[in-house]
Symmetry: D3
Subunit: 247 residues, 6 copies
C-alpha cells in the first residue's frame, strides 16, 4: 500500500518531521511517499496562507495519484484544501485534523486541541463544528509561530506545556490533540509527562488512510465531490491535466 503524505507548505524539514511520525506507525507493507509542495507559503498560518497553499497541494495530489498512490494525507492541521482535493482525486484523501478527531472520539469525552497561533484558532474551531465535535472539543492557541517549532532555542515547548496544563485544569479535558503537523515528534513525550492520551494528527491519518484502503472505500462521487468538469483554467495550473479531468 502506498500512502502519499503531502506537506502543503514548502518547508522540507517539516515534511521530514511528519514523514518520521507517519513511518513510526505505518503497517508493514505500507510505503509513506512524503512530498513537499513546491508552490505556496513556507508555513500555513491563517486563511490567506491556506488559500495560496491549495493549488500546489492539488498538483502534488494529482501527480501522486498518477504515480499509483492508494490514499493521500494532507499534513497541515487546518485540513488545507480538503474539499477541492476530494473532488479532484479518485483515491481517498484524509486531513490530519479530521483524522485526529476521529481517533480521539473513541477514547475521550472532552478533548482540547492545542494549536500554534491565535489566527489559526478560529479556522480550527470551524473544522471542529463541521466535523460535529463542537460540544466535545475546545481549541487553544499557544502563540507559537509554526516554524519556531523547529528552533530548539525558542520557548515553543514551554508555551505548549502551559496550554496543556490550562486545558486539563480549566477545560477539564481528558485528552489532548496536538494542532500542528510540526508537533508530531512530541506526542509520546507529552503523553508520558501529563498522563493523558495525546494524539498527533499525522499518525492518526496514516491509520485512517490504511483503514479506507483496506476497506476498499473511496470518496463518494455522487454529490459535491463529483470529479471536476473539464473547462479552461487560465494562468493557474494551465498545463495541468489531472487524471480526473483529462479522463
Amino acid at each position: 500500500m502506498r500512502i502519499l503524505l503531502i506537506n502543503p507548505n514548502t518547508t522540507a524539514s517539516m515534511t521530514a518531521t511528519a514523514a518520521d511520525a507517519a513511518r513510526r506507525v505505518a503497517a508493514t507493507g505500507t510505503d509513506i511517499i512524503a512530498v513537499t509542495s513546491t508552490m505556496g507559503p513556507v508555513s500555513i498560518e491563517g486563511y490567506y496562507d491556506e488559500a495560496l497553499a491549495v493549488p500546489g497541494l492539488l498538483v502534488e495530489l494529482a501527480k501522486g495519484e498518477k504515480a499509483g498512490a492508494d490514499a493521500a494525507i494532507i499534513a497541515c492541521f487546518d485540513d488545507t484544501g480538503l474539499d477541492a482535493a476530494r473532488a479532484l482525486a479518485g483515491i481517498p484523501v484524509i486531513g490530519i485534523c479530521e483524522a485526529a478527531l476521529a481517533c480521539v472520539s473513541f477514547i475521550s469525552q472532552r478533548t482540547t486541541i492545542v494549536t500554534t497561533m491565535e489566527r489559526s484558532r478560529l479556522p480550527i474551531e470551524h473544522l471542529v463544528h463541521r466535523y460535529g465535535m463542537g460540544t466535545r472539543v475546545k481549541v487553544r492557541a499557544a502563540d507559537i509561530p509554526v516554524l519556531s517549532l523547529e528552533d530548539p532555542s525558542s520557548n515553543a515547548g514551554e508555551r505548549l506545556r502551559a496550554e496543556i496544563t490550562a486545558a486539563l485544569r480549566d477545560d477539564r479535558a481528558d485528552a489532548i490533540v496536538l494542532g500542528c503537523a510540526g508537533m508530531a515528534d512530541l506526542t509520546a513525550e507529552l503523553s508520558r509527562e501529563f498522563g493523558v492520551p495525546v494524539v498527533d494528527g499525522v499518525a492518526a491519518a496514516v491509520k485512517q488512510a490504511e483503514a479506507l484502503v483496506t476497506l476498499k472505500l473511496s470518496t463518494a462521487k455522487r454529490g459535491a465531490y463529483a470529479f471536476p468538469v473539464e473547462k479552461p483554467y487560465t494562468g493557474i495550473l494551465e498545463g495541468f491535466r489531472p487524471k480526473a479531468i483529462s479522463a
Copy 2:
C-alpha cells in the same frame, strides 16, 4: 464611494451581467468598479473550481484596494475565498451569498435558494449553516451549467422556474434567493411572476457594502482576520506585494 466588484471567474460577459445589476441599485455617488479575474476557471462549479479561483481573486482585490476602492464584493454565490480575502484586505469584503441572506432575513421566515448545479448545492448549504440560517433556509439546484444562463437557447429559465415552483409548494418558502451571480438580471421578472420577494445577491451586496462604508466599519483585525504575516510564497503570486503584507 468606490465599490470593487470582482467576478472571480474569467468570463467577462458574466462580469457585465453582475455589473449591470450592481449599477441598477447603487446610490448616487457610488462607482461600481467591475473587474474580471484573469486567473482561474471560466465558471465556478464546485470546490475544485473555487480553490483555483482564489489566487486570481486575491490579486484583483489587492490591486483594487491599492487603487482606492472603499469596499469589495465577491460576485460568485459560493462566496469564493471570502476568509482569505478578509484577512488580506483593509477594506470590507462582502460575499453575495451572505449579503442575500442578510437582506432576506429581514423580510422572510422561510427562504429557498435556487442555485445552478447539484455539485454547488452542498457548498452553499455549508454557507447557510455557517451564517446561522440552517433552520430557515433551504437550497435547491436547478441542474443548470453556469454558462448556460448566458445562452438563450438553453432551457435554463424553464428549469429555474420549475425549482421555484417546487420551493413555494414543498418547502413552503415565502421568499426566493437566486443562487448565482449570472441570474441577477432575472430578479424583477421572477418576483412579478411568482408574487413573492426574489433576492439577487449582487444587488444585495452593493447595498451592504455601501452600508459598511457609510458606517465606517471594516473587518476586525484582532483575530483570525489579522493581516497576513510576511513570508516567502514560492511559485504563486511571487512578485505580489499587497498593501497588507508589504506594509
Copy 3:
C-alpha cells in the same frame, strides 16, 4: 425615501439621540421621520415593559405607513414587537438588534453586545439565538438603568467601558455592539478608544432600511407575516383602522 424611526418608549430625549444617529448616516435624499410612542413605559427594561410598549408602537407604525413611509425602524434593542409589526405593515420593518448583527456579521467573527441592565441580557440572548448568531455573539450587561445614559452625572460611561474591556479580554471579542438605542452617540468615540469596530444598531438599521427600499423588497406575506384578519379588538386600539386591516 422616507424612513420612519419609532422610539417605542415615551421619552422624547431618547428619540432625539436616536434621530441624530440616524441622520448622521442617512443617504442624501433619505428623510428620517422620528416619532416617540405616546403609549407605554418611559423606558423598556425587560419583558413586561416590552409588552406594554407594543400597542403604542403599532399605532405609530400604522400612522407612519399611511403617511407614506417607505420603511420603519424600531429603535429599541430588544426589537420590541417586531413580529407583530411585520404582520401589520406592508412596508419593511427593521429592528436595531437584528440590523446591528447583520452589519457586524460581515466584519467580525466574535462579537460582544454590551447592553444596559441584567434583566435585558437574556431577552437579547434569545434574539441572538433566533437570528442564528448563538455561536458568534455574547451578551453582557453593564448594570446601567436606561435613562441614566442621559444623565451626565451617572457613572454609566465608566461601567460601559469596564464591560467592553472585559469583552475584549475574556470573550476575545474582535468587535462590540452597543445594546441600547440610547448609546448611539458614543459609537465613534468608543471605537477610537478601544481600537475595534463598534456598531450602533440605529445607524445600522437606517442603512438596512435604505437597502431594502432600494432593492424593492418588503415583508413576505405568504406565511406567518400575513396581514391580520379583520376582527373585533375590545378595549385596545378600538378605533384603530390600520391600512392592512381596513383594506
Copy 4:
C-alpha cells in the same frame, strides 16, 4: 388550591370549553377560577393578535394574583405573553403549549402538534425550538379559523382528523398534541379513534400548575423575570397597580 385560568381572547364560550377541560382533571380541592380577558381580540391568530392580547392578560393576571390565586394558566396555545406574565407575577405562570410538551415528553419520542391556521404554525415552531423540542416535535396547521371550532356546521373536525392521519403516516408521530385551547373537548375522542396518546394543553397545564404549587416552586426572580421596575406607563394600564410594582 386556586388556579387562575385566563383565556387571553375575549370569547367567553372558549373560556367555558377550556374551563370544562380544566375541571375534568383538577384534583379534589383545586378550584379553577376561569376568566375571560376583557381587552383584546376575539381570537388569537398570529403575532398581531397575540401582541394586542397581552395587556388584557396582564390585567387579569394581576387581579387574580391579588384575589389569592396560587398559580395561573394562559389558555392560548401560542403561550401569549408568557415572559411578561412571569416577570409581573409572584405566582407561577404556565403556558398550555409548554405544559403539553412537558407532559408528552415523558411518553413520546416523536410528536406532532396540530394547530388551527397556517399563520400560527411558525410562532408555535418557535416555541418548540425555545422549549428544546426541535428535534422531536413537528407542527402542522389544519387550516381552521379558531372560532370555527365552536361551529358544528364547519368542517373543522374533518380537517383536524386529516392532519392527524398525515402526522401518523408522514411524520411517524407516536403521539399528538392539540394546538388550540378550543380543541380541548376532543382529546378523549381522538385518542380512542387514532389509538395514540392525544394531549390537550389546558388539562396538562392544570396538572403542571398543581405540581408547582404543591412543590412550593415559583418563578425565579433573580434574572430576566425580576419584578418590573416602578415607572410611568402612559396611555396603557394607567391606573394599574399590580402587587409587583406597587410593592
Copy 5:
C-alpha cells in the same frame, strides 16, 4: 392512585429518604409503593453501575405493574434504564432527572444541577442535552460519594453548599436542581438558605406521575417503545415473564 417508586440501587436507607420526599408531596389518595432493587450495586456512580442496576430495576418494574401500579418512578438521577423501562411497561415511567428539569423549566431560565461525583457529571450532561435543555442548564459535581450523603459526619453538606454558591455566582443560575435522590431531604432547607428555588427530582417525579395518570396518558407504543418481542433471554431474568412479553 398507586405510584411505584423504585430505588435502582440496593441501599434501603436511600429508598426511605426518597419515599419520605415522595410522600410529603403526594396528593391525598396517592399511595407511594417504595421498593429497593435486590439486584445490582449499593450505589450508582457512573456508567458501569448504571448498567448493572438495570436488570434489577426491570424486575421491580414488572412486578409493580402486575401488582397494579398506575405509574412508576426511577429514583436515581441518571434516569437509570429509562428507555428499557418504557419499552417494557404499559404504565408511564418517569425519571427523576427529567421530572426535575420539566418542573424547573416553568420557573427558571438558567438552572444548575449539583450532583455528587465527577464521574456522574457527563452522563447527566448527556441527559440535559437529550432533554433539550443544553442551552439553559449546567451541571456541577460536588465530589461527594453517594453514600456519604447518609453519613452525618461527612462534609457532604458543606461541599454541596460550596457548589451552589459557585453556581449562583459563576453560572448566574436563578434556580438549583439537586442531582441525587439522596439529597431529597435537603430541598426546603437549601431553598430558604440561598433564597432561590431548589428542586428535588423525587418530589417532581411524583407530581409528574400523578399528572400523567390523571390525564390518562401512557407511553406511546408505536415506535421505539413498542413492547419487547418474545424471545429467549439466557442466564439473565430467565424465568422472568413480564406482562408485556408473556401477553
Copy 6:
C-alpha cells in the same frame, strides 16, 4: 495484536458472520478473538434487549482483557453498553456504529444507515446525534427481524435493497452504512450493485481498533470513564472480579 470481537447477543451463527467480516480486513498479525455472549437475548432489537445484553457483554470484555486482548469491538449496531464497557476496560473499546460513521465521514457528505427493525431506528438516530453526525446522516429501517438475515428464504435482501434505492433517491445519499452486524457479508455485493460506497461496521471497527492499538491510545480515565469504584453488586455478576475493580 489481539482484537476481541464480542457478539453481545447469544446467537453463535451471527458471531461467525461478524468474525468472517472482521478477518477479511484484519492486518497480517492481527488475531480476531470472536466470542458469543452467554447471557442475554438471542438478538438485540430495541432498548429492552440492549439492556439485558449488557451484563453478559461486560463479562466477556473483562475475560478477554484478562486473557490479553489489546482492544475490543462490540458487534451490535446499537453500540450496546459502550459507555459501561469503556469505564470497565483498560483497553480501547469500539462500537460498530461509531466505527462505521468514522470511516464514512472521510468519504461522504450525505450518508444513510439502513437498519433492521423500526424499533431500532430511533436508538440509532440517538447515536448519530451523539456522534455529531445529525446533519449528515439519516437512518432507515427495512422492517427485517434480525435473525431473518440468516434465513435464505426470507425476503430480507429484497427489503434491504428497496430501502437503499429509496435512500439514494429521496435522501440523496452518496454512501450507505449497513446498520446491523448480520449484514456484514453483503457489503461488497451491494456496493457493486448500487455503485456507491457501502460500509459495514464490523470491518470498520477492526481497522479503528488496529489504529488505536498501533497509536498506543486507550480510553481516557480522567472523567466519566474512570474505572468503577469497588463496591458490592448483589445478585448480578456477583463473583465477578474484573481487573479494573479488583486492582
